[in-house]
C-alpha cells in the first residue's frame, strides 16, 4: 500500500512540477517583457520629458487655454503628466505582450478582449479632449459677450455653458466605454433636463424680477447711450 501511495505522490509531484516547468518559460517571458518595457518606458519618458521641457510645453499648455490641466498633473507639470502617461502605456503594452507569452486560451482571450476594447478607450479619450476644448471655447465666448453686454451674471452664464457641455461630453465618453449602459443615458437625461428645468424655473420664478430689471436696465442704457455725443469712428 505504501508503495502505491508513494507512486501516486511521485506521479502527482512529477505532474505538478512538469506543469510548473511548462509555465516557467511564460513567467520568465512575462518578467523579461516587463523588465524590458520598464527600461523602455523609463528611456522614452526621459526623452519625452526633456523634449517637452525644451519647447516649454507647460507654458504652451497654459497659453493654449488648458488652465486646469496643471492642477491635475503630478507636480503641477503637464510635461510630467505626459511623460508618465506614455511610460505607463509602454509598461502596459509590455505586460500584455508578456501575458500573451503564456500561450494559453485564457490569456489569448484576455489579450483579445483588451485589444478589442482599446478603440473604445481611445474614442472616449478623444471625445473628452474635444469636449473639453469645445466647452472652454464656448464658455469663454459666452463670458466675453456677456461682459460686453454688461450682464452682471456673465460668469454664471459662462460656467453654466461649460458644465452643460462637460456633462454631455462625459455622458458620451461613458457611452463609448460601454459603462453604465442605460443608467448613464437615463442619468444624463435626468441631469441635463434637470439643469435646463432649474434654469427655466430660476429665470421664470426665482429671478424673474432680477432678469427683467437687468434687461430693462440694458434697454434704458442703450437708449441713453445713443443720445450721448461719443462717436467711435
Amino acid at each position: 500500500m505504501w508503495e502505491q501511495v508513494q507512486q501516486a505522490l511521485s506521479r502527482s509531484t512529477a505532474r505538478t512540477l512538469s506543469q510548473v516547468a511548462s509555465l516557467l518559460p511564460g513567467i520568465v517571458a512575462l518578467l523579461l517583457a516587463l523588465l524590458i518595457s520598464i527600461v523602455l518606458a523609463w528611456l522614452i519618458a526621459g526623452i519625452l520629458r526633456r523634449s517637452l521641457s525644451r519647447i516649454q510645453f507647460d507654458d504652451r499648455v497654459f497659453r493654449w487655454g488648458f488652465l486646469s490641466l496643471p492642477e491635475w498633473s503630478p507636480g503641477k507639470s503637464p510635461t510630467l503628466l505626459a511623460a508618465r502617461v506614455v511610460a505607463w502605456t509602454v509598461v502596459f503594452i509590455g505586460f500584455v505582450i508578456g501575458v500573451s507569452a503564456f500561450d494559453s486560451t485564457l490569456t489569448s482571450a484576455l489579450v483579445l478582449r483588451v485589444f478589442e476594447y482599446l478603440p473604445n478607450v481611445l474614442a472616449a479619450i478623444l471625445v473628452l479632449v474635444v469636449g473639453s476644448v469645445v466647452a472652454r471655447f464656448l464658455a469663454r465666448s459666452v463670458l466675453i459677450d456677456a461682459v460686453n453686454m454688461n450682464l452682471q451674471y456673465a460668469r454664471l452664464l459662462s460656467a453654466g455653458v461649460r458644465w452643460m457641455v462637460m456633462v454631455l461630453t462625459v455622458a458620451m465618453a461613458l457611452e463609448h466605454l460601454t459603462i453604465g449602459g442605460g443608467i448613464i443615458r437615463l442619468a444624463f437625461g435626468i441631469l441635463f433636463g434637470g439643469i435646463v428645468l432649474a434654469l427655466a424655473l430660476a429665470v421664470g420664478l426665482g429671478s424673474k424680477d432680477l432678469v427683467s430689471r437687468s434687461i430693462q436696465r440694458e434697454a434704458n442704457r442703450a437708449a441713453e447711450q445713443s443720445e450721448e455725443p461719443v462717436r467711435h469712428l
Binding site: G65, N148, A222, P229, V230, H232
Partner: protein, 412 residues
C-alpha cells in the same frame, strides 16, 4: 482694361469712356445719386482745367447705367452689397477694391473714394482730396475732419497714434474712409489684394498707409469739413472693434519689416483751411463706462492674464478700485495694452475673435478716463492731450519691437 471685379454690363459702359484722368467713387449713395453727380460737377468746375472724370456711384441692385457727358461721365452700378459700413463692412470693403480696379482699368491718374454719409459731403471735399493726387504728385491723400472732442475715439485712442508710432506719419485718419489716391498708389493696393485672394479679404483701409510708406510714396492730408456719423448701437461696439482692430493688427503683422525700420515721426503736408468743429452735444456719462470697465476687470482677468503682462494687470486692478472722480488710465498702461493685444493677435495666444472682443471693456475704460480728463477742455487742450498719448505710443515702440522679435522672452 482690367475690370474683373465689376459686373459685365458696367464693363461695357466703361469701355465707352475715353481718356478719363480722374475716377471718383461714391459708396452708399442710394437715393441721392443725382445730387452726387451735381456735387461732383460743381467740384470739377473749381479746377482751372477740369479733368475728364468718371464718377462711379454705388446704385445698389439696379441695372448699370452710364451718362456719358463732358467733362463728367457718370456710371451708376452696384459696387457692394452693403449700403453702409455698419451694415456689412466686408461688402463695403470690397467696394474699395472694385473702385481701385476700375481706376486702373480706365487708366485714371487719380482716384477718390467718398464713403462718408453724403449729407455733410461738399464739393470742397472732392476738390481737396483730388487736387494733391492729380496736380501735386502726392500719392495718398488722407482726410482731416473737423471734429469735436468726443468724435473719432477709436481713431484718437488707437489708430492714429499707433500708425504714427509704427510708420512715422502724423495723420489724423490713417484709415480714411474718404481717400484720394494716385495711379501709382492704386497699383500696389490692387496687387496686395490679388495676393490675398483666396485667403480672407481684409479691410483695404487698414493697409493703405503701410503700403504708401513701404513704397516710399508721398502722403498728405486734406482738410475737409465735419463728418456726420449715426449714433452707434453700443451693444455692437465689440463687433465694431473686432472689425476695425482685426485688420489693423493683421496689417501690423504683415508689415513688420517696414515699421521696425521706422524711427520717430513727422507731420505730413496739409492742404485747405481748417474748419470749425461741430457742437459737442451733451456730456459723456463716464460712470456707465467705468461700470463696464469694472465688470470686465472682475470677469475677464483669466483672459487678460493670457495677453497682458503682470504689471499691466496690476494697474488694471488698481484702476478698478479707484473712485469715479479719480479714475485715470495712464498713457503707458494704455499703450502697453494696445501693443500686447497686437502681439497676442500675432502669436495667437487665444482665439483672435475672443482677443479682439475682450478689448472692449479696456477701450471703454480709456474713454472713461479721457472723458474725465477732457470734460471741460477746449480744442487746444484736447490736441495737447492727444499729442502726449501719441508720444507715449512712440516711447513704447522699442517694447513692441523687442517683444515682436522675441515673443517668448516674456510669458504672461
Amino acid at each position: 482694361m482690367d475690370f474683373d471685379a465689376i459686373p459685365q454690363p458696367a464693363v461695357e459702359h466703361l469701355a465707352q469712356v475715353q481718356g478719363a484722368e480722374l475716377l471718383i467713387g461714391v459708396l452708399g449713395a442710394n437715393g441721392t445719386s443725382s445730387a452726387v453727380a451735381s456735387m461732383v460737377r460743381q467740384a470739377l468746375e473749381g479746377f482751372p482745367h477740369p479733368p475728364r472724370a468718371v464718377l462711379v456711384v454705388d446704385k445698389g441692385a439696379a441695372e448699370p447705367r452710364l451718362e456719358n457727358e463732358q467733362p463728367l461721365a457718370v456710371l451708376f452700378c452696384r459696387l457692394s452689397d452693403a449700403t453702409s459700413s455698419a451694415a456689412s463692412p466686408q461688402g463695403f470693403f470690397s467696394a474699395y477694391h472694385t473702385i481701385f480696379g476700375i481706376g486702373r482699368g480706365i487708366g485714371a491718374r487719380a482716384c477718390t473714394v467718398i464713403a462718408s454719409q453724403l449729407q455733410t459731403v461738399t464739393p470742397l471735399w472732392i476738390t481737396q482730396l483730388v487736387r494733391p493726387a492729380l496736380d501735386m504728385e502726392f500719392d495718398l491723400v488722407t482726410p482731416r475732419y473737423a471734429r469735436h472732442k468726443w468724435e473719432g475715439l477709436i481713431n484718437r485712442s488707437v489708430l492714429s497714434p499707433l500708425s504714427r508710432a509704427l510708420y512715422g506719419k502724423r495723420i489724423q485718419n490713417p484709415m480714411g474712409p474718404d481717400l484720394g489716391l494716385s495711379a501709382r498708389m492704386m497699383q500696389p493696393l490692387i496687387e496686395d489684394q490679388a495676393k490675398a485672394r483666396g485667403a480672407s479679404r481684409g479691410n483695404p483701409l487698414a493697409s493703405v498707409l503701410a503700403t504708401a510708406v513701404r513704397c516710399n510714396f508721398q502722403i498728405c492730408e486734406a482738410q475737409v469739413g465735419a463728418r456726420l456719423q449715426p449714433p452707434l448701437d453700443w451693444m455692437n461696439l465689440s463687433s465694431l472693434l473686432a472689425q476695425i482692430l482685426g485688420p489693423v493688427f493683421l496689417d501690423v503683422e504683415q508689415n513688420a519689416a517696414v515699421w521696425q525700420r521706422v524711427r520717430g515721426s513727422h507731420a505730413v503736408p496739409g492742404f485747405g483751411p481748417a474748419e470749425t468743429a461741430p457742437e459737442e452735444g451733451g456730456p459723456v456719462d463716464a460712470g456707465r463706462l467705468i461700470e463696464s470697465f469694472h465688470l470686465g476687470a472682475k470677469n475677464l482677468q483669466d483672459v487678460w492674464s493670457l495677453v497682458l503682462p503682470p504689471t499691466v494687470l496690476l494697474e488694471i486692478r488698481k484702476l478698478s478700485r479707484l473712485p469715479l472722480e479719480q479714475f485715470r488710465m495712464l498713457d503707458e498702461v494704455w499703450v502697453s495694452i494696445v501693443y500686447d493685444f497686437a502681439l497676442a493677435h500675432r502669436v495667437r495666444t487665444i482665439n483672435r475673435d475672443h482677443l479682439l472682443r475682450s478689448f472692449t471693456p479696456l477701450y471703454l475704460g480709456w474713454i472713461a478716463s479721457y472723458a474725465q480728463e477732457m470734460g471741460s477742455a477746449g480744442p487746444f487742450e484736447v490736441e495737447a492731450r492727444l499729442e502726449r498719448l501719441a508720444q507715449a505710443y512712440e516711447a513704447g515702440k522699442p517694447y513692441l519691437v523687442s517683444r515682436w522679435r522675441w515673443p517668448d522672452r516674456f510669458n504672461p
